[in-house]
Symmetry: C2
Subunit: 160 residues, 2 copies
């Protein structure tokens, strides 16, 4: 666990689980996983990470900021695409090592760098683990924007 | 990233993002984060982790299995409390390093070791990062079961 100067240090287990002081617990890399859902539809849009600065900025501005693990930088969601996320509610879990963000999508309402609304656009068939089974099913195939046109470079650089 | 013998090895970026072969990408500790939501209400119930064995078992049995980081063991959700999770849908994200599980809750429909339905029972006030601000608000305070009675030992051992 990494200490942060931006938030109170976690107290006892009872403080963490039953208290009202927000003292997020960052992992060894200083990150906390964030589940982002649509406030409108409830669907899970993405799973990303925040460091303490991204979390503090998100709380302060009401706009979702993340830590990009691939680019190793703070990242205001939508800073290039314009598809920003306005925070409607921010929750933490029992042991304060995860965040749930309910957001309203701005722009074309796409959260995935592939152009889709949600990053979770494929369902995995149950009953099979190995490649011999049936393939995944595209639950959402429509791209709401063209990532090449929007980003002007390989989408690889856009991964969380 | 850790290789798994239970799943196909991830291919190219195009395979991973646009293909239909499920080739989950486990982190350096062999884990993948899992968002579990209620198929009935859509709410986020918990954020936990699976190793390859837990994921394969979840797919094979249709019952949620996780990897307990605190207890360092495979964990069939509800094995002690009876509050199991039947998988309705399993999705992966664009870069296949996260899982979204939609589940039906069995038993008393509680997923949190504190006895609550969701682990995300507290909302964090926006606009404040430090402890000087207003405290967190309990969005869900009702405990559907008594963890001491159900587990018969300190709930500490029940953390994901």
């Amino acid at each position: 666990m990494t200490n942060s100067a931006l938030f109170p240090q976690p107290g006892t287990k009872a403080d963490i689980e039953s208290g009202t002081v927000f003292s997020p617990r960052f992992d060894a890399e200083g990150l906390v996983p964030v589940v982002t859902t649509s406030a409108k539809t409830g669907e899970v849009l993405m799973l990303a990470y925040m460091n303490d600065a991204a979390l503090a900025l998100t709380m302060k501005t009401g706009e979702a900021h993340y830590w990009s693990r691939s680019r190793k930088k703070l990242w205001r969601k939508g800073e290039e695409s314009g598809n920003t996320q306005r925070v409607v509610e921010l929750r933490t879990d029992c042991d304060q090592d995860a965040i749930w963000l309910k957001v309203e999508l701005q722009g074309v309402e796409a959260s995935c760098h592939t152009g889709r609304r949600s990053c979770f656009y494929r369902a995995v068939p149950l009953g099979e683990a190995r490649s011999g089974g049936p393939g995944m099913r595209f639950v959402e195939s429509e791209k709401l924007f063209d990532p090449d046109a929007v980003y002007g470079h390989a989408p690889a650089a856009r991964e969380p």
